[in-house]
Symmetry: C2
């Protein structure tokens, strides 16, 4: 037993007691809503806090909830972990190839430790960083993770704090960085006790998913400190290399120092202190360069953001889909704009939004955008969680992959994308609370019924089968036709990593030719040329010179030169590197 | 009769008719929610719009509502007015001395034309610009103007469009600029028909005064166009020189191009087009430099903002009041910070707000702030509308005035302040709707009852006497002791305008010495020294040299030099200019 300091910010409480080993320890007030006490405890010991004599609640900053969010917290000794990554110094985001993965479905076991076994595969594929869907403790055994409630506790079913540390340590040993998805815009619907402790939430704003966090009202200094500390914890205590901040457009803050900027400022300080690269990636629906603009220029100083416009433009060109937000896309012109300016909607009227959307990211590098053709949302928010490989032929998958991996953005794959995994990525939950579970199931059905779907065809999020069906089948990756697609991805990643100009993010030098009618697009980036034919017919595109140079890569037959033009085979992509 | 084009944005309507002279003219749709028709009409003709067969409504862009907001609009021919200010080219805001005035109480008649008679007085006082409380048509005959509902129509009781034009023209003839207060954060509670026409309002945000304006949701392009057009109208059709945007913290807009920035951009274009100085002044509760930061540096590009922190710091030092937001002020240190950094709360914890507030306006000139010790809000939002002259002795008024007029900010007075007018500035309304009127009266009483006031002592906003009591008594200005204070103000303004360094806005060169215990503060701005003694005792302050230089101005007895120190008489201020 060693003496531990237990601290709690609970401005709503008058008297607070630590509950530990069946005993109650009064916690003197330290001012500013803080209470603290020293008590003897060992790692793993259960504890909670009793506010004004009420039943004990878990610690808002609990590091471990082995029995879920409603039970006692457990003592964790972060410094006790034996790290072996002392030489790891991180790597700049601009040169990264990111792999988004969900711990629960990435492996059969669905744990951090099981994921470790797949790291050599990722390294061989050429991946340089994994991005984990949120792992903060949530209600139930499985779920996407965006309903986290114990934001400082890695999910118990994934393996808890030690499991995550083992995964990060193993990643670093393989030369892989780790990016953690964190949700700072709301908390999940079950197990969220924060409002018992203090003014964590506000009614001044609303989010689609739950109460908005109070980043700018009375009492907000303690709330901001909570979230800043959380961001730093993943980077410091867990050695993560970056964070992906979920839906920052729902982080509403009228403060002169926006919480995103304050987080960026603190992460920069930690990076300097630790002497390793740390970065922040935002998911933003705003098309507002301010998010990624540097702080000296009036921005919030995030390092990068997801580039949904590039996704939507490419997805609409590949699938022909025009529903929902794809109504704003579908022309090769949209894709050309995305490749050259990142935001397609940069001050233009969006019919889907019925408003003018976005702003040009003037002077901002393409390396400040993540480019992808699939991610958990774009797959999982479809009614039946179908991956692109379930919708379009492999020839088009190859065209899309080639553009993602030669684009001026930091490329990101979604787990299994590289071999066209047959497992869908469905929306799944596991709320033990029956009313909540039923509400989630029915809400999902209603949501898609409104779009004309037969509710009976919508997988039930609460069904265990929905979760199990979403797990990757790793054996299929070695079989045709999956292995062929896998080779294509591996070759593309190798090409990207072998040509520094592909990672230079220089949007100004991207040249794009496109023929809307014939569905052909040619992108030129320095000495690299990528010629795409989205149609199922041969297409002629103008080409300089008459001396046929063989492409470095072709998805099918090689193009031929005829009469000073290049004839692209149907549904194909070829890449020249000189 | 001449043919006029009538236009209307009414996206909620299917069929629209112009109602004119008892006739109905179908208005063909022009797309995007716009309808238009040509019809013969003369200036002054009444007209309205019938949406889908309903009774006619006034025009949302009505230029004249001679019978109030519920009646028909009238045709106005803006270009027909005979302007005589062709040589007027405006003047930079940095050198201005502003006079805030309320048309209804500035004169006995309460009209634009009556105000014209006072312009020679303002010119002689040294004023360079008047700032009008909002004049947009509101419910009733008199009111402050912040409940405007016909944003394009100068209030009928003030004299309507021609009256305002005559006032602006007369101002320019006297060398006075005109700043118009405009309210873009909400509309008044009576006579607001906008939501019948289109999505002008949103439930996504809330304001304390009414529905928030929809600047960023579906349909917002038409709403933004409405407000941008309004801003340009005052500057172009009415020849105003600037706008004061009310409570911009309640203008909520998540667009990548904030509506404030879009307004600034459009005003800049108009300024270039017209070849005269136009400026935008924000009232902001955010202490966020972004509001006034230039657009190239990530700001919204407003030219200036009101400086409440300077007001609060000075008011608290002069009055000793500590209630409400004055709890964050009261020390000379606060005043010293305000004089040197504009924002006292610039990233500091505010106990009144219980949060960290503001941000340092790094590199921003003091000329981008308006400095004042009184304004309509700071007087009128007191229970009994008492001016500073009703609270503190004239010696302290003189100290406060000296600091306002030598500070690095653009000084602003409130009408009558310069002679310590005995009229209060009460909160008055004139809602013809009895229920609304009663609600306003009772709300006002309840508001102050909550702060311990006897509700019977709160003047009834709906009582005509409350309005009449607030009118200036111009005759008293010539009588002692008023005339003495008036001379003091006139001399201070003359001093400010004669010394360019007082208007250079150079915050970095402001030096301040203060002695908190003795209540003395000395400000040095280049060659100008301002020595203030807030206490009623003699105070010694350190002074360089031993050669007594006589001050250029002293509010009472002149300070004397003793033993290398300067002895300031009780409750006094002296100003040296060399």
């Amino acid at each position: 037993m060693t003496s531990q300091r237990f601290e709690l910010w609970a401005p709503y409480a008058v008297q607070v007691e630590l509950v530990l080993g069946g005993q109650f320890f009064p916690m003197p007030s330290e001012g500013g809503g803080w209470f603290a006490v020293e008590a003897d405890a060992d790692p793993g010991d259960g504890y909670g806090f009793s506010l004004d004599g009420a039943d004990p609640l878990p610690d808002p900053r609990s590091a471990w909830q082995p029995n879920g969010p409603h039970e006692l917290s457990r003592v964790v000794d972060h410094p006790a972990f034996q790290w072996s990554d002392g030489l790891w110094k991180g790597a700049p985001l601009a040169g990264a190839v990111i792999y988004e993965l969900h711990i629960g479905t990435f492996t059969t076991e669905g744990t951090f430790d099981a994921a470790i076994e797949r790291l050599p595969y990722l390294r061989d594929l050429g991946i340089t960083a994994i991005e984990l869907l949120p792992v903060a403790e949530f209600s139930g055994e499985h779920g996407w993770g965006y309903d986290g409630v114990d934001l400082f506790a890695p999910h118990h079913a994934y393996g808890g704090p030690d499991g995550l540390k083992r995964l990060v340590d193993a990643c670093h040993a393989q030369g892989l960085a780790v990016i953690m998805d964190v949700v700072y815009n709301h908390l999940g619907p079950s197990g969220n006790y924060l409002s018992r402790f203090g003014p964590y939430f506000t009614q001044r704003y609303a989010t689609p998913w739950g109460e908005a966090v109070n980043f700018d009202g009375p009492g907000s200094p303690g709330v901001r400190a909570f979230f800043i500390e959380n961001a730093l914890m993943w980077l410091d205590d867990y050695h993560c290399d970056g964070l992906r901040l979920d839906a920052v457009h729902a982080i509403l803050d009228s403060s002169a120092l926006h919480i995103l900027e304050e987080i960026a400022l603190n992460v920069e300080r930690l990076s300097n202190h630790l002497g390793r690269d740390l970065f922040l990636i935002a998911e933003s629906d705003l098309n507002d360069p301010r998010i990624i603009q540097r702080r000296e220029a009036g921005g919030y100083g995030m390092d990068a953001q997801w580039s949904d416009d590039f996704h939507h433009a490419l997805h609409a060109c590949v699938t022909g889909e025009t529903n929902g937000y794809y109504a704003d896309f579908g022309d090769l012109e949209h894709l050309a704009i995305a490749l050259q300016e990142a935001f397609v909607y940069a001050g233009r009227y969006s019919s889907f939004r019925d408003r003018v959307h976005g702003r040009q990211p003037v002077g901002i590098s393409g390396s400040r955008f993540l480019g992808y053709i699939q991610n958990h949302d774009q797959i999982g928010n479809r009614a039946t969680g179908d991956r692109l490989s379930a919708i379009v032929p492999s020839e088009l998958l190859k065209v899309a992959a080639a553009l993602v991996l030669t684009a001026p953005f930091v490329p990101m794959l979604f787990h299994g994308e590289e071999w066209g995994a047959t497992a869908p990525f469905l929306y799944f939950t596991d709320h033990p609370d029956e009313d909540l579970g039923r509400a989630v199931s029915e809400g999902r059905k209603r949501e898609f019924e409104a779009f004309g779907w037969d509710p009976a065809s919508i997988p039930d999020p609460q069904s265990r089968e929905t979760f199990m069906r979403s797990k990757l089948d790793w054996e299929e990756a070695q079989r045709e036709p999956h292995s062929e697609l896998l080779d294509w991805y591996r070759d593309l990643i190798r090409l990207r990593r072998s040509l520094p100009e592909l990672s230079d993010g220089d949007l100004a030098s991207v040249e794009v030719f496109f023929d809307e009618d014939q569905r052909a697009l040619v992108m030129q980036r320095g000495s690299v040329t990528v010629a795409c034919n989205f149609s199922d017919s041969e297409v002629e595109v103008p080409a300089e010179g008459s001396d046929p140079v063989p492409p470095a890569m072709s998805s099918g037959a090689e193009p031929v030169w005829e009469n000073g033009a290049l004839v692209l085979p149907p549904t194909s992509v070829s890449i020249w590197t000189n």
